[in-house]
Amino acid sequence: MSFDLLATLAKTALWMALLLQVTPIMVWVERRGSAMIQDRLGPNRVGPFGLFQSLADAVKFLCKEDITPAEADKFMHGLAPVLALIPALTTFVVIPFGPDVTVLGHRVPLVVAGAETGVLLLLALASLGVYSLVMAGYSSNNKYSMLGAVRASAQLISYELALTLAVVAVLMPVGSFELNEVVRYQQGSFFGWLPRWNVIPQFIGFLVFVVAAFAETNRLPFDLPEAESELVAGYHTEYSSMKFALFFMGEYMGMATLSCLAATLYLGGWHLPGLSYSGPWWWVAAQGMGVLVAKATLFLFFFVWVRWTFPRFRFDQLMRLGWKVLLPLSILNLIAVAALTVGGVL
């Protein structure tokens, strides 16, 4: 095996190890966080602070009976939860977590796939996520599931446009699709003390991105595809046991990757002013990954915070917000950034 292949495998393994931790940890944060917000205690019996609750839940999921409805389309019913993991487990490849380092005389970029198409590849892979929801809804042969699936596809397509346009506005002054270039662009500072992060000059784009990210991950206040007060559980009504858990994992890992993307696009990614990023390669990698994870954690906590603060939208409100507010705002942001870029301000 060549060195490059080994390095790629190692980087992939690192990401996978981190991403698989996201679901249990986030479920704990969500349950304890919601309890904190609602002045309750939350699960606090299993392990210190209830930390092992997710472990117990995982065992429970594995032991539960796996039910496929008699009239369901068996093939698609089984395939849908597997597909839910594809965008979650592939999109991280273009997110950089450090500068290039030298390992045993080989130059290794700290990103799994430093492709020229960069963030475009991420958006393309993420856009495949909708098929899992649609398949789940269709194959369950259940009206609630079907309605959830139809809502999901309408919602994802509507918000993808605003999200993509916000990303394009970030890429324009950088002049590259590569996320490492985006990080490099954000190094330095405004007025000598304010970090040169995109969130400052592109605040409108940042708002559009964050709101669209909530819709893309089906999180409250935009979790219409699984609105339990009207659709029982939406597209995963007929799922139980580990298949249901896969949807759950897909949702949380999707949130994690989008949070990493948001941190990279708007908060300077793996770079933090004041850190030197020098020393042995593993120290540089640990610094980069640590900073990226810390920034992504901010977004992840924000996801939880919003979920337990805002009520759910109505579907027509959701569509109106997407098409009549976010899309025009993102186009406006795009034009403004284009003008500033051509004018040499950004």
Partner: protein, 167 residues
């Protein structure tokens, strides 16, 4: 390695394309179309055009085919074989063969037979592509945009007309 990947995905393209045409259940046909389009994207990557591959997945599988699915699910098209028009099938097959022959003849005349020489890096890299689209071929590019705008406007007008008749 590359040959193995090519063979795998070329076979996938052909098989899934056949399923698209032959399967009775329209949902399965559309899902199979997704496999076809993603496999073609993989072939684009093998040909050294990752940008085209990303756009292919983003636009076709990520948006357009989702709309196909949306329409099929909303209209609840069932796969009972009622769409089997004898004449239409023959005409469609004839048109497909004719069009492929035309393309083959045109390519043969333009590039002087098979095998074609591979695309140069300079043709498919992002910057030259952008220069070509927004420089050399700006007029056709804008015309395509205008055509799409006309289609969108027409669709909106058609949808609105039904609405005003109801009220």
């Amino acid at each position: 390695m590359e040959v193995a990947v090519f063979l795998l995905f070329a076979a996938l393209v052909l098989v899934s394309a056949l399923v698209v045409v032959l399967h009775r259940n329209p949902i399965y046909a559309v899902m199979s179309l997704v496999v076809t389009l993603v496999s073609i994207a993989v072939l684009f990557v093998l040909l050294g055009a990752p940008f085209l591959a990303a756009i292919q997945v983003l636009v076709y599988t990520g948006a357009i085919v989702v709309l196909f699915l949306f329409v099929i699910m909303l209209l609840n098209v069932s796969g009972d074989g009622s769409t089997a028009f004898g004449l239409q099938k023959i005409v469609a097959a004839g048109a497909a063969v004719g069009f492929s022959t035309l393309l083959l003849v045109l390519f043969w005349g333009r590039f002087g037979g098979l095998p074609l020489s591979p695309l140069k890096e300079a043709d498919v890299a992002l910057r030259p592509l952008a220069r070509a689209l927004l420089g050399t071929y700006l007029l056709p590019f804008e015309m395509v945009g205008l055509l799409l705008l006309a289609a969108v406007t027409a669709a909106t007008v058609l949808a609105r007309r039904g609405e005003s008749e109801k009220t």
